[in-house]
Amino acid sequence: MTIHRPTKIHYSELRPSQREGEKDVEWETYRREVGRLIADGHESKWVLIKDDTIIGVFNTLEEVREEGYRRYFPERFLIHQIQTWERVYCIRNYC
């Protein structure tokens, strides 16, 4: 029997975060805004989000990471690469 395991997921199908006991505001903001970010030509760039605000879009992971740590550490923030199709990762016991 062949088990179908998705290797990519379209941005419109991204799931809510599973974190217990707290709403993942930044991730929900990304899910809400990703379509617009792609339409605006930001595919493959990196976005920095704090609460429900998009702080900026950056060309590289290094740039967005440095800015996130500089502004917000140790508070929570989100950095994410803007992609139409995202890779789905495999973890033991789940695949």
């Binding site: 740590y69 550490f73 495999c90 033991r92």
Partner: protein
């Protein structure tokens, strides 16, 4: 070539690993005059079927880290969104090693909300990409080399 040979445990390919704050977080705390949480020595299971190294969320919480990234992962229930953290990760001096086998001052790891019993770390292919690993089944041992 630095290397260490370890027995294959009933739980699998078990190796001690050290998990701590990542370099950027450590620098920020130092600059603020805040105490630095000591890294933790943990039992890790090498799992070549895991793309991303995973750490028990209770361990991550001890460092006061917040997730800064998300990824999609397959589960028995379908695709979920999981949280990622950035930590330092090393395989410390064990066996006949005279120095740590590997040190990564920043490694992105996925939180494990339900880690296997007694195994808080799943060492994935992202770490194995830095090492050579040889399995000797008849002798029930494996070797890791830098």
């Amino acid at each position: 070539m630095p290397h260490v040979t370890l027995p294959i445990d009933p739980d699998g390919y078990i190796v001690e690993v050290m998990v701590g704050l990542n370099g950027a977080a450590t620098a920020n705390l130092l600059a603020a005059g805040q105490p630095i949480p000591a890294p933790l020595l943990l039992r890790g299971a090498i799992d070549s079927g895991t793309d991303v190294t995973c750490v028990d969320v209770q361990v991550l919480n001890r460092f006061g880290l917040s997730p800064f990234h998300r990824l999609s992962s397959t589960t028995a229930a379908g695709v979920i969104t999981a949280s990622l953290y950035e930590v330092s990760f090393s395989i410390p001096r064990i066996g006949r090693l005279t120095a740590p086998l590997m040190v990564l001052d920043q490694l992105v790891v996925m939180e494990l909300s339900q880690a296997p019993q007694g195994i808080p770390v799943l060492v994935g292919r992202d770490v194995l990409e830095h090492l050579m690993m040889i399995t000797d089944g008849p002798r029930a041992e494996f070797t890791l080399a830098d």
